[in-house]
Symmetry: C2
Subunit: 149 residues, 2 copies
């Protein structure tokens, strides 16, 4: 009688990645939620503008692999909080140029400093060499599929 090789759940990459992602996001999530009442897509949009400067919604969609409906709602929420402004683009009036306000910039700076602190905690137990490889490998996995989100 043949028995199938036993499946070892804790080694299954999609499972392991989800557990690690949830654990790693926890602290930062609580920070931006309680401190600024922001949701996940909101901080992501804010960080894209903070890191890359002026962008259109579509450019954020492409860079972050987030669906346009999610970006649209996040932009509206950030606008209500006075963290960004929309500017018209003369050449193409369908496009809106998004920019952080001074307040948005300040929030970005606080959040990115917090992000650095959380990350420092996370990588505390990892060898620097491991960390580089980890990032490379995660990036490789993330890019295996580039679909709508």
């Amino acid at each position: 009688m043949t028995r199938p090789a036993p499946f070892h759940l804790p080694h299954f990459l999609p499972y392991l990645l989800n557990q690690a992602a949830e654990a790693a996001s926890q602290g930062f999530q609580e920070y931006y939620r309680t401190r600024y009442g922001m949701l996940r897509t909101e901080w992501r949009v804010l960080f894209h503008l903070g890191c890359y400067g002026t962008l259109s919604a579509k450019e954020i969609c492409e860079k972050a692999a987030i669906h346009k409906t999610k970006v649209s709602r996040a932009v509206a929420a950030l606008e209500n909080k006075r963290l960004l402004t929309r500017g018209a683009l003369a050449e193409d009036r369908r496009v809106e140029q998004l920019d952080l306000t001074a307040k948005g910039q300040a929030v970005f700076e606080d959040l990115s400093a917090a992000a650095e602190r959380f990350e420092a905690e996370l990588v505390d137990g990892l060898a620097p060499d491991d960390l580089d490889r980890l990032r490379d490998n995660l990036l490789h996995l993330a890019n295996l599929r580039t679909g709508p989100r």
Copy 2:
């Protein structure tokens, strides 16, 4: 004038982990959803019973770090699909022993074979040595926090 070090979003571990986890889960998720109409917590519960044998709901909660309300609903769904049975425990009648039915076992075997195939695709571009380290590092990150879920 001092400028803060620029924050590099694609290197931020919680972000990178989430992108990788989503991309990696995609294929398998579609498989168990379209083929068996199962949800995320359902396959996780099924796999715990398939991998470890008879368990109580509480034991699944602890092993998988899933909140008891989610496990409760997943167990009810799997029971409706005739994939598991509940048995009373004589010593403590609050506890229910959960076991896969023959059908549940068959589904587990099909899904775990599918999981192996998806994982093989994922790790295709990784050096075997990298993969071991990756698993170790992910496990380390996942265990930094063990909270309710």
